[in-house]
Symmetry: C2
Subunit: 232 residues, 2 copies
Amino acid sequence: MNTMRGARERARTEVTAAIKEEARKQLAAEGAAKLSLRAVARELGMASSALYRYFPSRDDLLTALITDAYDAVGETAESALAAASAGAGHLERWLAVCVAVRRWALDHPHEYGLIYGSPVPGYTAPQDTAQPAARVALVLISVARDAYGSRGLAKQRLPAGLRTDAERLAAEVAPDLPPETAMAFVAVWAQLFGLISFEVFGHFHRVVEERDAFFAHAAGELARTVGVLPEA
Amino acid sequence: MNTMRGARERARTEVTAAIKEEARKQLAAEGAAKLSLRAVARELGMASSALYRYFPSRDDLLTALITDAYDAVGETAESALAAASAGAGHLERWLAVCVAVRRWALDHPHEYGLIYGSPVPGYTAPQDTAQPAARVALVLISVARDAYGSRGLAKQRLPAGLRTDAERLAAEVAPDLPPETAMAFVAVWAQLFGLISFEVFGHFHRVVEERDAFFAHAAGELARTVGVLPEA
DNA sequence: GTCTATACACCGATAGAC
DNA sequence: GTCTATCGGTGTATAGAC
């Protein structure tokens, strides 16, 4: 009885994985807005109605793909940090994470676009994508936190209107950091993905050719502005 | 004869404008990937086949929308600079342009997504979008150029691998600037749109509430990193 | 330049047999 | 859980009359 349920559940997980894999292929070919349960079923040799046993609606499939994408890039960032940690300096660890995230984005442009590009029209993400979505940011914050212990970022000013946001942010995510630093980090976070998005979405076409070097340079400068410095 | 052609051409321009306007509405409702000549025609009370006299295919309509969007945000940037120029300092002018671009993006999120979000699957932009696409960057570069004349940006290093790109860039777009500065500017350009995209695409939800102040602060810091300083 | 009509394909979702 | 069949739509694109 237990083994039977085990087998059934195993089968279910396998089919679910196959559906998502095929859906990712279609994401690349047609885009998220045109993701179609019917086409997935056709390609898998199933009846379209059978898919509804796995995903109650098209949006649920989309949610699964979005969650998976956030988890994939989040895990990429976490692994990169773990791999770099052995004796590396703060800047090296920061760069290792940034480079790994960029690499993932370039290798999975459509999944990247799904999470960091234009929102899918008519789709609103449920609350449960929030946690996976935060993983990359948390990795970068942990590097920053190590980098300057609790000393914070030197001579950084914060407009009065941002104090409330900054204090809430610090409390939520990095209680040991000064609010100014937490706020500065948010800007750097967005700017980092600006660099990646411009590259993935083709805005560096005929503008920058040596993109590896360019990204490493820019990501290093970003680290500086948030107080992650070369010295270990 | 001349007046007849004039009337015809006027009618043609008006219908063309109506088609694009309706298409922009659908862009907001359904997204670029689902933009449909038929739906546009239906809403306009025309036969779908009639639209083919104005746009030979769906992609041509899309190209027109993309070009228009680049031109709209480009003109926004140019106007903001013109309005701010009267006696304003360099930083004020830089901020005026950034704030205007952000404002346009927030007011036209779908048109923004069309040009700075995920590429439309199956669509490749023709060469003639390149010039409108450059307008915002050229405005920002002109502010930067004014800001430091030909002195360039102090103590800025450039990795060896980026020298070729940097020199080509400077030659193409700002011959009076040192290559290091031109290259730094590209990074700032991408980072600025990173800030805007994160806000427009909803990544600051429950992260930053005081977004006006946040953006102004971050854009000002960006100006600093590219050598645009407060003093006029 | 606009219309009707048409060819041919697609979609999400559900009902009900097995 | 999978199937067939079906409802009620959607789309691009063209042909040919006016």
